[in-house]
Amino acid sequence: QQQVKQSPQSLIVQKGGISIINCAYENTAFDYFPWYQQFPGKGPALLIAIRPDVSEKKEGRFTISFNKSAKQFSLHIMDSQPGDSATYFCAPTSTQTSGSRLTFGEGTQLTVNP
C-alpha cells in the first residue's frame, strides 16, 4: 500500500516561472507535512513544513498549500531560480505515534533553466 504519492517525477521550469509539486497521502493520522530539498551529493534538508491547523504557509518564495479534506499538500516555488534546481521530497508524518513508519515520497527532480 503506497501511503505517499508525489507528482510529478520531474519538472522543468524557466527562470522566473512557478514550480508546483504535489503530495497525496492516505494516513489521516499524519500531523506534520514537510518538504525536503536535496542537492546532488548532499543529504536532504528541511525546506518548509506545515501543521494541519493552517491551510497555507509562506517563507520567502516558497509556499505550502494544505488541503486536509483532499489529503494532499503542495509546494509552490515562485520566481524559480537556477539555484532551486534540486530534488524535492515530501515526508508527511504522525508525530504522535512513535512506532509509525517514516515515509518519504519518491521525489521530484526540478530543473530551472536560465
Binding site: 543529504g43 536532504p44 513544513a49 508525530t95 515515509t103 519518491e106
Partner: protein, 112 residues
C-alpha cells in the same frame, strides 16, 4: 555544532564482506534514523532509534543491524554484503519523532 557526521564517505566492498557505517550527532537528539537511497529514488527507512538502548526496524531492515549505546552514536552494521546493498546511506536525527530531521552527508557504498 557539527550536526550529523557520517564516515566513511565512500566504500567499495566485495560480496560477503562486512562493515560498519558510523553516525554521530552532537545535537542531543533522542531520535536517530538510517535510510538508504537508491539512484533516482526516495529514501527508505532501514532502522530507527528512540533513545540509547532502544532500536526498531524500519521498512527495509533485512541484511542490516544497528545498536545505540549512547545518545550520540548510531552505527549501522552490514553483514555479508550483497550487490543489492549498493546504495547511498543517510543517517538522520530529530528532536522528536517525525519532527525536522537533520541529515548527514551520506555514505556511498558499492558492493561488487
Amino acid at each position: 555544532n557539527a550536526g550529523v557526521t557520517q564516515t566513511p564517505k565512500f566504500r567499495i566492498l566485495k560480496i560477503g564482506q562486512s562493515m560498519t557505517l558510523q553516525c554521530t550527532q552532537d545535537m542531543n537528539h533522542n531520535y536517530m534514523y538510517w535510510y538508504r537511497q537508491d539512484p533516482g529514488m526516495g529514501l527508505k527507512l532501514i532502522y530507527y532509534s528512540v533513545g540509547a538502548g532502544i532500536t526498531d526496524k524500519g521498512e527495509v531492515p533485512n541484511g542490516y543491524n544497528v545498536s545505540r549505546s549512547t545518545t550520540e552514536d548510531f552505527p549501522l552494521r552490514l553483514e555479508l554484503a550483497a550487490p543489492s546493498q549498493t546504495s547511498v546511506y543517510f543517517c538522520a536525527s530529530s528532536y522528536y519523532h517525525g519532527g525536522e530531521q537533520y541529515f548527514g552527508p551520506g555514505t556511498r557504498l558499492t558492493v561488487t
